[in-house]
Symmetry: C2
Subunit: 447 residues, 2 copies
C-alpha cells in the first residue's frame, strides 16, 4: 500500500452531527442482530486485521515518523512515542484479542428476572445494548480493535476519538472494521466511526439526543472536563488511592507478601497500594521488615509521626498531611500506625477513592466488619489490591475500572456496556380491570 | 400538642455542609446494620406515625391554614392545596405503607455472582447501599414516610427537601423518624434530615464529596435544572411519551380495549398513551370505532392527514407536526396511520421518550421484532402501557420511573437504591505469582 493512497483518506469525514445520527440509526438495527452474527463479524474482523496487517503497519509508520519529529522538537514525550508503535506481533495480538471477545458468552438477551404479574401477563427483564457509546482514548492504537470488539459484542454503536498522534493508525484500523461491517448485510457500517479533533469531541459531548454514554480514558483532569461539559452519562475511570490494612491478628509473613505485591508489582497501576495502615500492636515487629523490603525494591517510604519515631534509623521520610489520599502511581508509599480496625476503616473512608481496599488478618469477624464498613468497589481479605482487574476477575475483557457507584462499579466488562429492558407479554390486559378489582396481581416470581 | 411547641422547631437547623457530613458518617454505620434491625426500626416508625398522628395533623393544619391564604391571594393552585391536606385515614395509610416496606425482602447483601478465581481465592459480588441520597420532592407530605422507609430499608442515609408549603408537616414527620432512630442505638439519627430552602438545595447539589445520588421529583424543568447544576449522579423521572401500535394482525376488540385503557384510565400518568399508531390495512375498520369510544370518554382526537381524511366526518382535529412526541398528560390523543410495523418502530424511536411502548398483534414474530427494535424501558405485547409501574411490576414500592438507560431503567424500586461491591477473599495471594506463571486463574463461575 503506498502512502498516497493513505493520504486520500478512505474514511469519509462527516460532520459530528451526521456521525452521531448515523450511529443512532445503526444502534437500533444492531440491537436485533443475533449473537452468532455478531461473533461471525468479530472473527471476520480478526482475520482482516491479520490479512491487512501491512496497511496498519504502514499507517503506523506515518504516525511514528511524525512523532519522531515531535519528540525531537520536544512536543511529545518519549513514553507516549513508545506506546504509539505497533509491530507485527502487536497485529497478531490484536487479532487474538478480538477472537477472545468473540468467544465470550453473549451479553445480550440474558434473562435477568421473570415475574408472572397475573395469569397470562408475564414480565421479562432482559439485558440489551445501551445504544451509542462515545469513547475518547489516549494515543495507544491497539485500543481501537479492543473497543470495537467490545462494542460490537454488546450490540452498541461506537464513536471513537483517539489521540491525534495515532491518527493514521486509528484510521487504518477503523477502515478495516467498516469494510468488515459492509460485508455483513445485517450489520450497519455506521456502527463504528472515527472523529478527528478536539473540537469534534466538544461537539460530540453536546449530542445527548444520539449518544447514550461517554467513556473518557485518560487523565483525571480530562475525565472531569468531560463530566463537567456534557449532559450525557459518563463512565469514567476514577483515581485509585488504595490501602492495605495489616490487622493485629495478621499472619505477618502473608502481610509482608501482600503489602509488597500491592505496592511493588506494578506501582503505576490504579490498583496499586498508596498507603499502608498497620495496627499498633504489631508495628514494632512488622514495620522494620516491610520497610527494608520496600527499600530494597527502591520504594521511598514516608511514615506518620509514630512510624517515623519507630523507624527513623531506617532512613524513612516523614509523611506530610497531604500524603494521605495521594495517588503516587510510583515507587512511593506512606505508612500510618492505627490503634484499631475502626481507625483504619475511618482513614480509608476519608482518604480512599473507593477503588480497592484490603485487610490482612486471621480474624474473620474483623475481616467481615472491615468489608461491610469500607465503602469501595473492591474490599479484600488476605489478597493483594492488584487483583482488581477485569481480566483477573474473569470478565475476559475490560474497559476500565469505575469508582462511581452507579451503573457499573469496579472493573467494567461487557456487562457495563449493557442495560436492560422490561418486556411485558399479555393477552389484552387493561389496568382498568385491576383498578376495578375484577382481576388481581399475583406477582409470582418465576426467575 | 400546642402550636407554640411547634413554632420552636424541635428539628435543629444545621448548615447543609454539617447535614451532609453527618449523613455521610451515618451512611457508613448504616451499611452494616442487619436487615432485622432495619425492619424493626421500620415497624417502630409505623407505630410512631400512628401514635403521634395528632402531631402530624396539627402541623398539617398550620400548613393548610397558610396555604388557604395563599390560594385566596392567588399564590397557590387549588390542586396543590388539595395534595397538601392530610387526614386520619392518610395517617393510617402512611403507617401501613411503612409496614409493607418492612415486609419486603432485604435488598442488601444479596449475592449477585460468585467466581472462584483460583483455589482459595474467591470473588463475591454483593448488593450494598449507595450511601447518601438527596431527594427533592413536591408538596405532598405523604411522601416523607415513603422515602424514609425505602431509604432505611436499603441502608442509605437520606436528605429530604420537600415543598415549602408542606414545611410543618414534613418537619413533624421527619422528627418522628429521628426520634425512632434515636431509640435504636445502632441506627444513627443523622441517617435522615430535612432541608428547608431553595438555597439549601443549591448547596446540597454542590456537596458531591458526601452525596452519592440526587433524586429530583417534580417538573421536567426542575429535573433538568438539577442535572445541569450538579456533578452528583441524578436519577430523574423522565417524561412519558408512550405509544400503542395496532398491527395489521391485531385482534381488534383487544386493540380497542388496550388503546382505550392506555389513554383514558388515567391520562395524567406518565405511562398513559399520547399517540396511537394504526396499520393502514385495518385503519378503515378500527379507527371509526376507537375514535367514537375516545369521544364518548371526552378525549380530543387529533389525526394525521390520512386519519383526518378517513374520519373527518367524525369531528376530529388535524394533528400538527408538533403533536408527535408531545406529552399531553390530558384527555387528548394523536393518531397516525402507518404502512408497516417498521414505520411504527421508526416513529416511536424518533418521537418516544423511551418510557413504555406497546404493540397489539396476534403475530408473535412481528411482536418480537417490535420488542427488539423499539428502544424503551418497557416494550409490551398485547398489554396496556398503564402497567408500567413499580407496584404493578411487583416491586412493592416505587421511587419513580427512569427513562435513563444507566443504573436503573423503568420503574425504580428498592433495587435502584442499591449498588454492589466486590468482596475478594484469599489466603495471601499476590499478583506477582500469577504474573510469573507460578499460579493460574481458573475463573470457575460458582453463581
Amino acid at each position: 500500500m503506498n502512502e498516497l493512497a493513505l493520504q486520500d483518506s478512505p474514511v469519509e469525514r462527516l460532520s459530528v452531527a451526521a456521525v452521531a445520527r448515523g450511529a443512532k440509526a445503526a444502534s437500533r438495527l444492531l440491537a436485533s442482530v443475533p449473537g452468532a452474527r455478531r461473533d461471525a463479524a468479530l472473527r471476520a474482523a480478526a482475520d482482516a486485521i491479520e490479512r491487512r496487517g501491512l496497511e496498519i503497519l504502514a499507517a503506523n509508520r506515518r504516525d511514528c515518523d511524525e512523532a519522531t519529529r515531535a519528540v525531537k522538537e520536544g512536543r511529545l514525550s518519549r513514553s507516549l512515542f513508545e506506546r504509539l508503535q505497533i509491530d507485527q506481533p502487536a497485529i497478531a495480538q490484536m487479532a487474538a484479542g478480538v477472537r477472545e471477545v468473540a468467544a465470550l458468552p453473549d451479553p445480550l438477551g440474558r434473562s435477568l428476572a421473570i415475574t408472572e404479574l397475573d395469569k397470562g401477563l408475564t414480565l421479562y427483564k432482559e439485558s440489551c445494548p445501551i445504544g451509542v457509546i462515545g469513547i475518547v482514548f489516549e494515543a495507544r492504537p491497539e485500543i481501537v480493535p479492543q473497543i470495537a470488539a467490545l462494542a460490537l459484542k454488546s450490540g452498541n454503536a461506537v464513536i471513537l476519538k483517539g489521540g491525534s498522534e495515532a491518527q493514521h493508525s486509528n484510521q487504518a484500523m477503523v477502515q478495516i472494521w467498516i469494510d468488515v461491517f459492509t460485508s455483513f448485510p445485517d450489520i450497519p457500517a455506521e456502527a463504528i466511526s472515527l472523529l478527528y479533533t478536539r473540537a469534534d469531541v466538544d461537539e460530540m459531548l453536546s449530542r445527548d439526543d444520539e449518544i447514550d454514554l461517554i467513556i473518557p480514558r485518560g487523565s483525571r483532569e480530562f475525565v472531569r472536563y468531560v463530566a463537567g461539559r456534557s449532559h450525557i452519562s459518563v463512565l469514567g475511570n476514577g483515581e485509585g488511592t488504595c490501602h492495605v490494612y495489616i490487622d493485629r491478628m495478621a499472619d505477618l509473613e502473608m502481610a509482608l507478601n501482600i503489602a509488597y505485591d500491592s505496592k511493588v508489582q506494578y506501582p503505576a497501576a490504579c490498583n496499586a497500594m498508596e498507603t499502608l495502615l498497620v495496627h499498633d500492636e504489631i508495628a514494632v515487629v512488622f514495620l522494620p521488615e516491610i520497610i527494608s523490603c520496600f527499600q530494597a525494591a527502591g520504594v521511598e517510604v514516608r511514615g506518620c509521626r509514630r512510624t517515623f519515631e519507630l523507624a527513623e534509623t531506617l532512613g524513612i521520610m516523614p509523611a506530610m498531611a497531604d500524603d494521605w489520599g495521594k495517588e503516587y502511581s510510583d515507587l512511593i508509599v506512606s505508612i500510618k500506625i492505627v490503634d484499631s480496625a475502626d481507625e483504619a476503616i475511618e482513614h480509608i473512608n476519608r482518604y480512599g477513592s473507593g477503588h480497592t481496599e484490603s485487610i490482612v488478618t486471621e480474624d474473620t469477624s474483623a475481616a467481615a466488619h472491615f468489608m461491610e464498613r469500607v465503602d469501595a468497589a473492591g474490599v479484600y481479605h488476605n489478597a493483594s489490591t492488584r487483583f482488581a482487574d477485569g481480566f483477573r476477575y474473569g470478565f475476559g475483557a475490560e474497559l476500565g475500572i469505575s469508582t462511581s457507584k452507579l451503573h457499573a462499579r469496579g472493573p467494567v466488562g461487557l456487562e457495563g456496556l449493557t442495560t436492560y429492558k422490561y418486556k411485558l407479554i399479555g393477552d389484552g390486559q387493561t389496568v382498568a380491570s385491576y383498578a376495578a378489582g375484577e382481576r388481581t396481581f399475583n406477582h409470582r416470581r418465576i426467575k
